[in-house]
């Protein structure tokens, strides 16, 4: 019965919609995201307000972002893409674009301008790292440490990660070369601006591995974002890298004796892509939603639920307090000036080329224990 009414309501909506808009919009939409607190923040900030404006719209969530590239490729080969909008990290967006699996778009046409009229392409600026990538948040991969295990001198330098004498104990690092290689070079004396040039050479790679070798037997390698927070909470590691939002929830929401080490945090981007080849009605719906969900206010709203920085410059001043804890969110943003004293942006182009090669070397280095 309930289903029946929904059905009636949606078809009625479809009729009005087709009368009102030039183009007919699908009445359901499948969004793909990462699950957990992040997906919840998107639901609260984007999807729920949008549904209020469009009653009868059905929004389906799929928590497949971590394997979105493979799944989209498989769907595309099978000729049946069921997703309408996919949340991916920038490097995945680039690969999807390269593979022709994501739709290219024109920022100024698809996205809303800032309230002061600045066009979207300028408001997002160079965060649009790929023709298919619709930026959403800036996050960073950085370190957290146990405040009760570091004595009186808490670490304040990325190179403290490599200092086993001052900070004995295990560390957790991600089980892939990205970020780890950069930090290792940074701490073996390479200047920040030269890192990728050095890493391109055989000697540079060996130098990075040599630095990592110094702590290799004290490292627990993680592959899921939840690992480091858990290891920190259990006291298994003294410090570990993960996404800053995860650390925020360990520190502020779970109240664990953990603190942030913002030094040399690596900025990365997360955003939407629209799968290539959507039927017209679904594409119209998703374009309408994206325009809404990436406007200045919405991006700022998301920051009330999770400590990731909005990708629009115009959203930054609008970031307020946490929706439940009531604490000011700005100091927890990776983009906050205090936190962002020493940062670097992950080089997508470079890693797209070197990822396969370095990953093979990295895994071989790991496996040889």
């Amino acid at each position: 019965m309930r289903r029946m009414t929904t059905l009636l309501a949606t078809s009625a909506l479809a009729v009005t919609a087709s009368a009102t808009f030039a183009q007919e919009m699908a009445d359901s939409m499948t969004l793909v995201s990462w699950g957990g607190a992040y997906q919840a923040s998107q639901r609260n900030a984007y999807a729920e307000p949008y549904k209020e404006m469009h009653p009868g719209l059905e929004v389906v969530w799929d928590e497949s972002s971590n394997e979105a590239v493979a799944k989209l490729r498989a769907m595309n080969e099978a000729g049946n893409v069921t997703w309408d909008l996919v949340d991916v990290v920038a490097s995945d967006a680039m690969r999807l674009c390269d593979e022709g699996l994501a739709m290219e778009y024109d920022p100024d046409e698809l996205l809303a301008p800032a309230p002061d009229g600045t066009p979207a392409s300028e408001d997002f600026g160079d965060l649009i790292v790929s023709d298919c990538f619709i930026p959403q948040i800036v996050y960073s991969t950085t370190f957290g440490y146990r405040t009760d295990m570091v004595g009186d001198t808490p670490p304040d330098d990325i190179c403290d990660v490599f200092d086993l004498e001052a900070y004995p104990g295990k560390r957790s690092l991600e089980k892939r070369p990205i970020n780890n290689m950069e930090w290792a070079l940074l701490c073996s004396g390479v200047a920040k601006e030269d890192i990728y040039d050095v890493l391109e050479t055989e000697e540079g790679q060996n130098q990075a591995f040599a630095k990592l070798d110094t702590i290799k037997d004290q490292v627990i390698w993680w592959s899921a974002g939840a690992d480091t927070p858990q290891l920190l909470a259990d006291g298994e590691v003294v410090m570990g890298s993960t996404y800053n939002g995860r650390l925020f929830s360990v520190i502020e929401e779970q109240d664990q004796p953990v603190a942030m080490l913002w030094d040399a945090q690596v900025f990365d981007l997360d955003g939407w892509i629209i799968p290539a080849g959507l039927p017209a009605d679904r594409l119209a719906r998703v374009k309408d939603f994206v325009k809404f969900a990436t406007d200045t206010q919405r991006l700022a709203d998301q920051a009330a639920y999770i400590s990731y920085g909005p990708a629009r410059q115009s959203s930054a001043p609008l970031v307020g307090e946490h929706a439940e804890l009531g604490i000011d969110m700005a100091p927890h943003m990776p983009t906050d000036p205090d936190n962002a004293q020493n940062t670097f942006l992950y080089n997508y182009e470079w890693w797209a080329d070197y990822r396969d090669d370095l990953d093979a070397k990295f895994q071989a280095w790991l496996a040889k224990g």
């Binding site: 390269d98 298994e236 797209a352 496996a367």
Partner: protein, 562 residues
């Protein structure tokens, strides 16, 4: 009675036995059996279809992917042919770069060039971005030609003018060129629509300006079938201007243009006259301008080495070898990992299998010999892990085994282990073996149990009455009869563990991961499905070989599930 006996004797003297209706008995028997077989086949048809579709087809697909490499020749067909003549000594000549330009332009329009870049980047680092940047700037190279021609005659800007010129105002069409280009385009773009293109190159013009006709045909096919636009209304690609430039660079063509009478002949004559204004240095220098890596021998060697439609490259990579221009050679030592992982996978799977036998055997024995009520309870305990999520079970082992975990806490509390030297029991091989033995134990216990249930207790009694001690009775009489259960359990556990990747990923650290972790990585992260397929095929072959060896040594009919 007498009738029967006469017909019997008839049959025995006059050859084949006949059925009652006179047909040979053998044939009517075959007919009856065939009908039965057909009916049986119909009954299992849905299952058969299901198995073919979900089991056999993916395996066949995997085997195919592990050698398939058509992407290079489909994306760069002209380049591959041009490279045939390259000796590999120095950087290739202008001809190759010219072929590459026209191939890459079409590929970039179809957004296929980045796929190829990704594919070749597996073999040679840097090709991915080389293709991406070059594709982005492929317009620039043609624009240099376009500007010259448009300066010579503004009609070159008009879509309709081009259309008339290339159809020679409705002259005799060159169907051979059309179907050849259509075939190439279909290979490049997998889901190209079919339908009326609304254009056919004139035979006259394709004889006069072969490159231009080819490029314009590509443009026409793409415009009509991929974009769904009308050819006569769209401005031609920059590549068409470049092609015209290539054609007009030929002195004979310039002479032929002078006597050409078709539409746009005057514009062509003017363009031929301006041939000296066209960009000097050709396509090679244009490519080197875009990225100097185009002069790199490694890039060209990679393209040439992987230009065949089928390649052993993935399989070679799977065993730490690589295919290069000089043939097969070992990979750099710092990239060798797969042989190590294969060995480790086999070794650890065997270890897990043996620990399952060791732990499972007594439990199965208890199950088979306890009173029914008690054994049912025990059976539920054995099955309980089946009803728990794999992740939960694995996480439970984390809680137990980690350094601040339950077991270490107990050991420290009881003074067996010093607080500073807590045992490392997880994120290594030990953790993987413990967690996987636990997870796979039911697969050992159940076949063992069902085999043991069929061994009557009277065998043990008989052995004892014949003078055997408990141990001898067990070892000589009971154990040999339970071997089929051990065989079945071992095959199950071994094959399951060889393909496990979630648990090793979570608790295996760096030394406890399997080859399947790499397969999963290549499937979902690096998207190198060819390599994943090759690794998977090797794993499948390894399992089949071990199965065959088991059959030879123990005998497969010695495997019983109950």
């Amino acid at each position: 009675m007498s009738d029967a006996s006469t017909s019997m004797s008839d049959a025995s003297t006059a050859g084949p036995m006949l059925a009652a209706d006179g047909t040979p008995l053998k044939r009517s028997l075959r007919k009856a059996l065939r009908r039965e077989k057909m009916r049986a086949l119909m009954l299992i048809a849905p299952l058969l279809f299901f198995i073919l579709l979900t089991f056999i087809a993916p395996i066949a697909d995997m085997l195919f992917r592990s050698v398939e490499n058509q992407i290079v020749s489909n994306t760069l067909p002209r380049t591959v042919i041009a490279l045939d003549d390259w000796d590999g000594q120095e950087e290739p000549g202008e001809k190759v770069y010219q072929a590459l330009y026209f191939d890459l332009f079409v590929a970039a329009e179809a957004k296929e060039h980045t796929k190829l870049g990704t594919r070749l980047n597996y073999e040679e680092t840097g090709i991915s971005s080389l293709f991406r940047t070059t594709g982005r700037r492929s317009d620039d190279i043609g624009e240099a030609y376009q500007d010259v021609f448009e300066d010579v005659d503004p009609r070159f800007k008009e879509a309709g003018f081009w259309y008339d010129m290339m159809t020679a105002g409705g002259g005799e069409p060159d169907t051979a060129l059309m179907s050849e280009r259509l075939g190439t385009m279909n290979r490049l773009i997998a889901d190209l629509a079919s339908g009326d293109i609304g254009f056919a190159p004139a035979a006259e013009i394709s004889a006069l300006l072969p490159k231009t006709a080819e490029a314009y045909t590509d443009f026409a096919i793409f415009t009509a079938l991929a974009d769904g636009d009308v050819v006569a209304e769209e401005d031609p690609w920059e590549a068409v201007y470049a092609a015209l430039g290539v054609d007009l660079a030929n002195a004979e063509t310039r002479d032929a243009v002078q006597v050409y009478e078709g539409p746009g002949a005057d514009a062509l004559r003017a363009a031929a006259a301006a041939a000296d204004q066209l960009p000097a240095g050709g396509f090679k220098s244009a490519f080197l301008d875009v990225d100097e890596d185009w002069a790199s021998q490694g890039v060209w060697e990679t393209i040439k080495t992987y230009s065949a439609s089928y390649t052993p490259g993935y399989f070679l990579n799977s065993v730490d070898l690589e295919l290069s221009a000089d043939g097969i050679s070992p990979r750099d030592e710092d990239q060798q990992i797969y042989i190590l992982l294969f060995k480790r996978t086999i070794f650890m799977s065997l270890t897990i299998m043996f620990s399952c036998i060791l732990l499972g055997y007594p439990i199965a024995w208890l199950l088979a010999n306890l009173p029914v009520r008690t054994s049912n309870l025990l059976l539920i305990l054995v099955l309980l892990p089946f009803w728990t999520s794999l992740l939960v079970r694995t996480s439970a082992w984390k809680v137990l085994l980690q350094q601040q975990g339950v077991i270490n806490d107990i050991l420290v509390w009881s003074g067996i282990v010093d607080d500073a030297n807590r045992l490392v029991m997880i994120n290594n091989q030990f953790g993987t073996i413990v967690a996987m033995t636990h997870i796979l134990l039911p697969f050992m216990i159940l076949p063992l149990y069902s085999v043991m249930q069929t061994i009557p207790p009277s065998y043990l009694r008989a052995a004892k009455s014949l003078g055997a001690t408990n141990w001898t009775a067990f070892w000589r009489v009971y154990f040999p009869q339970s071997v089929p259960g051990i065989g079945a359990g071992s095959i199950l556990v071994f094959i399951l563990s060889i393909g496990y990747y979630i648990t090793p990923e979570l608790v295996g650290g760096t030394t406890g991961t399997f080859i399947s972790n790499r397969i999963a990585y290549h499937i979902s992260s690096s998207l190198n499905w060819g390599l994943a397929a090759a690794l998977g095929s090797i794993l499948l072959a390894a399992v089949l070989i071990l199965y065959w060896a088991y059959d030879k040594i123990v005998g497969i009919d010695n495997v019983k599930l109950g």
